[in-house]
C-alpha cells in the first residue's frame, strides 16, 4: 500500500458552548491515497462539514474550540504548523469548495479577481500572466466566453456557473487534495450532475484526490472509490463504494439506503423509516450513538463506543464497521442507486 496523501488519526473537534461541550467530530480516523475520491456521507448534524474544515485546518484549536488528534497531509501535520505556514498549504496543496455558491463568492468582487488573487498570492504571477491563467481556468471548468465572464460580478451568473467559478478558484494552484463540502446541494438536479461530472473529470485529469462531502448517499455513490458514513460525529462504516451499496454492514447505513425512495419501486410503496431523531450533539447517548434508534440494539450496544473494525475477508479492501451486531455480509441485496 502506498503512503497515503491524507492520514487522519483519531481527530476530535469540540466546541465549547454555553450548553456544554459539543463533540462535533468525535474520534475519526481515515486515509486517502493520491488521486482517489472519498465520499463522506451523513445527515445534518453528523459532523461531516466540521470534519472537512478541521481536516483543512480552517477549524483549529482556539478560543471556544479544541482540536485533538492528527491530520497529516502529504507528510505534514496540519495542526502543528504555524498559521502562516498552514496558509501556504491552502491553494497549492489543499483547496475547498463550499455548499452555497451564492454566498461563497464575494458579492462586490468581479469573478476573475477571485481566481487572479490566488494565482498572484501563491504563484507570484504578474498581473498579465495571472489574467491569462484565470481565463484558461474558467475555460477549463466549462464556462463559455471566459473573457467576458471574468469581468462580471457573481450575481450576474447562474448558480451552476458560480459553482464552476468556485471550483476554478480552488483548482488555480493545482492542489493535491480537493475538499468539496456539499458542492451541489444548492443546485438543480440537472446542474448537480454537471458539477459532479466536472469534479470527477478534473480529478481524473490531474490526479487530484477528492473528499466529497454530502448528505446524499446516491450522489456520492457514482463518483467515489470509497464511502465513509458518519453518524453523531463518528464514522460508523467505511468501505469501497460497491460494498457500501451492495452489502452495508452497519444498521444505520442499511436503513439510510432503504429509506430513500427508489425509481424502480412501485408507486405508493411504503418506505422503511428510521424512527426517532438524530442525537443531540451536546448530550449524546452513551455507547453506540445509533443504539436508541437501532432495531437490532441490545444492552451491549449502550455500554461503550463500538470500535471501528475491519470485517473484510483477508486480502480484500478494508471494510470497516463500528458495530457490535453488524448486518450479515450478504443479507441485504440493495441495488446500486434507487
Amino acid at each position: 500500500m502506498s503512503e497515503p496523501l491524507l492520514d487522519v488519526e483519531d481527530l476530535r473537534t469540540t466546541f465549547h458552548t454555553p450548553r456544554g461541550d459539543v463533540h462535533a467530530v468525535d474520534g475519526v480516523s481515515l486515509r486517502l491515497e493520491a488521486g482517489r475520491t472519498l465520499g463522506v456521507v451523513g445527515e445534518s448534524g453528523s459532523g461531516k462539514s466540521v470534519l472537512g474544515r478541521t481536516v483543512m485546518g480552517l477549524v483549529s484549536s482556539g478560543p471556544g474550540v479544541t482540536v485533538s488528534g492528527r491530520v497529516s497531509l502529504a507528510g505534514q501535520d496540519v495542526h502543528a504548523l504555524a498559521p502562516a505556514e498552514r496558509r501556504r498549504l491552502w491553494g497549492p496543496r489543499v483547496a475547498m469548495v463550499f455548499q452555497d455558491p451564492m454566498t461563497s463568492l464575494n458579492p462586490v468582487k468581479r469573478v476573475g479577481r477571485h481566481i487572479d488573487e490566488v494565482l498572484r498570492l501563491h504563484l507570484r504571477l504578474g498581473r498579465r500572466e495571472a489574467r491569462e491563467r484565470t481565463v484558461g481556468l474558467l475555460r477549463q471548468v466549462g464556462i463559455p466566453e471566459p473573457e467576458r465572464r471574468a469581468g462580471q460580478y457573481p450575481h450576474e451568473l447562474s448558480g451552476g456557473m458560480r459553482q464552476r467559478v468556485v471550483i476554478a478558484a480552488a483548482l488555480a494552484c493545482g492542489p493535491d487534495l480537493l475538499i468539496a463540502d456539499e458542492p451541489t446541494t444548492a443546485l438543480d438536479v440537472t446542474v448537480q450532475r454537471q458539477i459532479l461530472d466536472l469534479v470527477a473529470s478534473l480529478s481524473r485529469r490531474s490526479g487530484m484526490a477528492v473528499v466529497l462531502i454530502s448528505h446524499d448517499l446516491a450522489a456520492v455513490g457514482g463518483r467515489a472509490d470509497r464511502v465513509a458514513v458518519m453518524y453523531g460525529g463518528r464514522l460508523v462504516e467505511s468501505a469501497p463504494t460497491s460494498r457500501v451499496f451492495g452489502a452495508p454492514r452497519h444498521p444505520y447505513t442499511g436503513a439510510l439506503l432503504a429509506s430513500a425512495p427508489r425509481l424502480s419501486a412501485a408507486p405508493h410503496s411504503r418506505l422503511p423509516t428510521i424512527e426517532g431523531r438524530p442525537p443531540d450533539p451536546a448530550d449524546p447517548p452513551p455507547g453506540c450513538r445509533f443504539a436508541p434508534r437501532c432495531p437490532r440494539a441490545e444492552a451491549v450496544c449502550r455500554g461503550g463506543a463500538p470500535p471501528l473494525l475491519d470485517l473484510a475477508p483477508v486480502g480484500g479492501h478494508p471494510h470497516e464497521v463500528a458495530c457490535r451486531l453488524p448486518l450479515e455480509a450478504e443479507s441485504t441485496e440493495v441495488g446500486h442507486g434507487r
Binding site: 458552548t17 482556539g62 471556544g64
Partner: protein, 288 residues
C-alpha cells in the same frame, strides 16, 4: 461555525454584571424619583426658602447637603432627583406614545402597501427631513415650554423610527410562510395583522423603545441645556448642567458633575439594556 459558537459564549457571559448594575441603577433611581416629594430633602426649587443655605458649597454629607448646593443655595441631590422625575416621566411617556402610533402605522403600511404605504412613507420622510434637534428647536420656538409640549415634541421625534422599524419587520414577516399559511386557512387581513404579525413585530419595537429612551433623555436634556425646555428654577438635568457654564465650572465642578453623573449613568444604563434587548429580539433594524 467556530466563530458563531465562541461569540455566543462570550456574549452571554460577559455583560451580565454590567447589565445587573444598569438595571439596579434604573430601579433605584426610579423609586427615589417617584418618592422624591415624600423624602425629607432640603429645598430644591423655591429660592425664597434657600436664602439661608450656603451657596455653591461642595458635596458634604455633614452639612445636610449630600451633594452640595448651587449658586442659589438649592440642594443638588434634591434637584437631581426632581430632575429625574421629569426626565424619566417625559421620556417614558414620549416613547410609549411614539411606539403605539408608529408601530400601528408601520404595520398598516407594511402589510397593506400601496396608497397607505406611500402616504405613511411621505409623512415619515417629511419628519425625517429635519434633523431631530432642529425639529425640537423649531417646535420649542413656538410652543410653551412645559412638560406636556416637550413630551409631544419628543414623541413626534420617535414616530418615524418606529414606523420604519415596524414596517420593515412587518414586510419581512409577511413574506414568511406562516403568513401565507394563515391566509391559506382563510384568515382575514385584520386577523393576519393582529394575530400573526403584531406578536412578531412587538418584540423589536419594544427593544427599540428601550434604545430610544436613552436618546430621548439626552434630547430632553439638550433642549433644557439650550434654555428651550422646562425653565429654571424647576430642575431638569439639562438646565442644571447649564448652570455650570463659564467660570463656575472650574471653581465648583460639582455643579456640573452631579447632574452630569446622573445623566451619564442613566443614559448608559438604558443603552446597555436596550442593546441587550435589541440583540436578543430585533431581527431587522429599521435603519434605511
Amino acid at each position: 461555525m467556530s466563530e458563531t459558537l465562541t461569540d455566543r459564549r462570550t456574549a452571554t457571559r460577559r455583560p451580565d454584571l454590567v447589565a445587573w448594575f444598569s438595571g439596579t441603577w434604573l430601579v433605584v433611581l426610579a423609586v427615589l424619583a417617584a418618592a422624591a416629594p415624600l423624602l425629607p430633602l432640603p429645598e430644591h426649587v423655591d429660592l425664597t426658602r434657600s436664602l439661608t443655605a450656603p451657596t455653591l458649597s461642595g458635596p458634604d454629607p455633614a452639612s445636610g447637603h449630600l451633594l452640595g448646593t448651587n449658586a442659589f443655595g438649592l440642594d443638588l441631590f434634591a434637584r437631581a432627583l426632581h430632575g429625574a422625575r421629569s426626565s424619566l416621566a417625559i421620556a417614558l411617556a414620549a416613547v410609549a406614545l411614539g411606539a403605539v402610533v408608529g408601530g400601528a402605522l408601520g404595520i398598516l403600511a407594511g402589510y397593506l402597501g400601496r396608497t397607505v404605504d406611500t402616504v405613511v412613507g411621505v409623512a415619515t420622510n417629511v419628519l425625517l427631513a429635519v434633523p431631530p434637534l432642529i425639529l425640537l428647536i423649531a417646535l420649542a420656538t413656538v410652543l410653551e415650554p412645559n412638560a406636556r409640549n416637550v413630551t409631544l415634541a419628543l414623541a413626534l421625534l420617535t414616530v418615524p423610527t418606529m414606523v420604519r422599524l415596524a414596517r420593515a419587520n412587518t414586510m419581512a414577516f409577511a413574506q414568511r410562510e406562516f403568513v401565507l399559511a394563515a391566509r391559506a386557512m382563510g384568515a382575514s387581513g385584520w386577523r393576519v395583522m393582529t394575530r400573526e404579525l403584531l406578536p412578531n413585530v412587538l418584540l423589536p419595537v419594544l427593544s427599540m423603545a428601550m434604545v430610544l429612551i436613552s436618546v430621548l433623555v439626552v434630547a430632553e436634556a439638550s433642549l433644557s441645556f439650550l434654555g428651550l425646555g422646562i425653565q429654571p428654577p424647576a430642575p431638569t438635568w439639562g438646565n442644571m448642567i447649564a448652570e455650570g457654564e463659564g467660570r463656575v465650572l472650574e471653581e465648583h465642578p460639582h455643579v456640573v458633575l452631579v447632574p452630569g453623573v446622573f445623566l451619564f449613568l442613566t443614559v448608559f444604563s438604558f443603552n446597555i439594556l436596550g442593546e441587550k434587548a435589541r440583540k436578543r429580539w430585533d431581527t431587522r433594524s429599521g435603519a434605511r
